[in-house]
Every structure is written in C-alpha cells, then in structure tokens.
C-alpha cells in the first residue's frame, strides 16, 4: 500500500501541494539522509544533496511515473546521483580502496526502525551470498559512485566488463533477496 500512497503524494506534489511535499520529506528524511551520509561521509554534503533532491522533486525535474519502477527506486536513484555530483564537485575523489569502506558496516548505535532493521538484515544476508569482488563492486559503484575506470583499476577487471559485472552482482543480490522472501524468511513486503 505504501507504494500507491507514495505515488498519490507525489501527484499532489506535482500539483504544487506544499503539504504533500512536507509529508514526502518526513517519510524519507531519515533513510535518505543516512544513505547520503554513507555515500558522502560528510553530513554537510549529505544535507546539500538532500536539498538538491527536494528542489528537483518540487520543480518536477526528471518526473516520476510508474513505468520507472518503484517510487523509492526513483527517489533513491535521484538522491544517489545528487550525491555523486557533489562528491565529484567538492571532494577529491579518493582512489585508495581502504577509503571506500565496506558494503556492510558493523552495527551502529543509532536505533533503526523495525522496518529498516528488517530490510537491512535481509539485504546483509543476501550480500553474504556475493563474492568478495562482487561486494566490492557494489560498494564502489553504488555507494561510492566511482567511475568505471576506477572500478576497473581497483577491482582489477577489464574496463569493458565493469558494467556487466556490476549488473550481474546487483541481479544476483535481487535474486537472493527474492528467494528469501519467497521462503518467507521474513514478513517484509514492499
């Protein structure tokens, strides 16, 4: 149900309903901010990226419709791109692998919502099914926004195969998650 109510809310935002934008903001502030902090490792930069996202949503840039998949996929992708833009503009791109962090980090102290916790645990389980190289690629590509060249260099794979390797890693992750949900490991639905 969440999906359709996101869409309804978004439609209202498209009609310049400020209240709807505020509701959308409240709904996604924490996950977006946390995601952007993971990407940028900089709270100010994360805030700046989040602001860019909501300016774009409000202006109707890159309009969402259901042919683009889930609303969250669209919103998160837009946020990821806002962060990548800012990282490239403001930060020296770090080349060292040690600086890129891990796809899965040790447990944090801040409390998660039950829903978040559940999703996270499942994704973490699915991540364990990936090879070390695949995990690294997802981290460098998805969370760090590294260029294909850099990923090719750091993972020591031919440049021409980077895209398909990332794609296969993501596909495998989705497949594992899907199987886990089918088996009913958790009541998570979306």
């Amino acid at each position: 149900m969440e999906k359709s109510s996101d869409f309804v809310l978004y439609e209202r935002v498209r009609n310049k309903d400020k209240e709807a934008l505020e509701q959308l903001y409240d709904r996604y502030e924490k996950i977006l901010f946390s995601f952007l902090v993971k990407m940028t490792e900089d709270r100010d930069l994360a805030e700046e990226a989040l602001q860019e996202v909501f300016i774009k949503v409000w202006r109707g840039v890159g309009e969402y419709d259901e042919s683009k998949g889930k609303f969250t996929s669209w919103l998160f992708t837009m946020s990821r791109n806002a962060a990548i833009d800012l990282i490239r503009k403001k930060k020296k791109p770090s080349v060292a692998l040690e600086e890129a962090g891990e796809l899965v980090s040790p447990a944090s102290s801040v409390e998660e919502t039950a829903e978040w916790q559940e999703k996270k645990e499942q994704i973490q389980l699915a991540v364990k099914d990936l090879s070390a190289e695949q995990q690294k690629m997802v981290q460098l590509f998805y969370f760090k926004g590294y260029t294909h060249e850099k990923i090719s260099e750091l993972c020591e794979v031919p440049l021409g195969t980077v895209k398909s390797r990332i794609r296969l890693a993501l596909k495998k992750l989705k497949g594992t998650l899907h199987d886990m949900q089918e088996r009913g490991d958790s009541p998570w639905r979306n």
């Binding site: 009609n15 946390s34 995601f35 409000w58 202006r59 998160f76 899965v104 801040v110 596909k171």
Partner: protein
C-alpha cells in the same frame, strides 16, 4: 548509441544517458525483467546504510530553501503588464499554459491594460470549455490592502491568478498565503511577498480539481509552507 542492451541499466542508474537514450531504455525496461529487478534492487540498497539522525533544523532549512526557490521562480514568471513575460511562461512549463495566460491577460485588462488582452487573444484557442471568474477580495476591518483574483476552470483543471496592491510590508519570514476553502476546509493555493511598492502577484494551478471551492482567502502567515492557516485572514471573498 550502440544497440541498447541490459548493460545500459548501469548508465541509466548513473543518469548518463541522453534524453532519447533514456526514453529508449525505459521502453526496454518495460519488457526486460532482468533490468526491472536491478531497478527494484535500488529501492532496497540504501537500507544498508546505518541510520544517522538528521541534524537539528535540517527540515526547516531544506523546505524553506525549496519553497524560496519557488518564490524566485514565480517572481520571474509573475504577471507583468506586458504580454511578453506571460508568453515566456509557456516556454518554462511543458503543459499548455494558454488558460493561465488568458486569465492573466484578462486580469491585467481589468486593471486597465487592454493591450495585453488584445495581443493574447490573437493567439490560438485551446478548445474545450473554459469558465472564467473574476473576484474582488474584501479586506478585514484593519487591513489596508486590496486584491483581485481570477479563476479559470477548464475541464479538470483550475488556475488561479491573484494580484494584490497597497500591501503592508512583511517582517522576517512572513508571507501572504492564498487559500481555497470548501466548507471551511482550506488548501494552500500559492503565496507571495509584496514588492517594494506594495504589490504582489501569485499564480497557482490545480491540474486535477475535484472540489467545488466556496471561498478564497489570503492570510498573513508567519512563514511559508504552512499546510493550514496560522495567521489571520486579511482578504477574502466567496467564490
């Protein structure tokens, strides 16, 4: 671009495809379950992040910036007593802007500029039924300003142009907020701040208008973006 294939999902996610390539890829997406799954996955991956508490005041900072940008945009699009800026508006938004242009033109003509109306009415018609209503808003006992509103209803859409004069200057983050009400229940319908000479304009559109509004009101709000009125009503009228 070389024939589109599944690897382009990576470029799609990175936003590096051209407009045409993107549309082409979205066609591919409709039929390719592999790519659909990857897009779906991006709706889940961010949950790998550790929760971070948002900094104090971030919401207010971001929302006020977002709505201020809007005001800036509106100021540049605002109703001027010449047809040119009104036509410029059409280029900004992809939807057909004629209803509001005509509303605005009629409105300007109410204020004694027949030229704008004449000029715009030479332009092609939109077709479809259109209802136009012009309204004089009444000030409360102590308010010195005046405002006129024009409402255009066409099929499902409603467009509203408000032009106010002799407005009191505002303090801090205050704005004049317009509301449409039905049986006492308001929705925000645009906001403005007065220029140095006490004039203010606003334009608002509702693409899917299902309500039969009975009242229009303008309140003096302590800040922009309120979902329901906090300030007092300074100008109002039945519709």
């Amino acid at each position: 671009m070389a024939k589109l294939n599944c690897d382009h999902v990576i470029d799609y996610l990175n936003g590096t495809l051209s407009k045409e390539e993107q549309l082409e890829f979205e066609q591919h997406l409709k039929t390719c379950t592999d790519c659909q799954e990857i897009i779906e996955m991006t709706g889940d991956l961010p949950y790998l992040a550790d929760p971070v508490d948002p900094p104090a005041g971030m919401k207010a900072r971001i929302l006020s910036t977002v709505f201020e940008e809007e005001e800036e945009q509106k100021k540049s699009e605002e109703v001027k007593r010449e047809p040119a800026p009104l036509i410029a508006q059409k280029a900004v938004k992809k939807k057909n802007r004629w209803p509001v242009l005509i509303a605005a033109a009629l409105f300007v003509s109410l204020l004694g500029n027949g030229y704008a109306l004449l000029k715009l009415s030479e332009q092609p018609e939109t077709g479809g039924e259109m209802a136009f209503q012009s309204i004089d808003l009444q000030p409360n006992e102590v308010f010195g300003g005046t405002a006129k509103a024009a409402i255009i209803r066409e099929e499902e859409s409603l467009e509203l142009v408000v032009q106010a004069e002799q407005l009191e200057a505002l303090e801090g983050e205050q704005v004049y907020q317009i509301w449409l009400l039905k049986e006492g229940k308001p929705i925000p319908a645009g906001a403005f701040t007065p220029s140095a000479n006490g004039e203010g304009n606003a334009y608002y559109s509702l693409e899917d208008n299902t309500e039969d509004w009975d009242t229009i009101a303008i309140t003096l709000e302590p800040q922009a973006g309120n979902a329901s009125p906090q300030g007092e009503i300074v100008l109002s009228s039945e519709i």
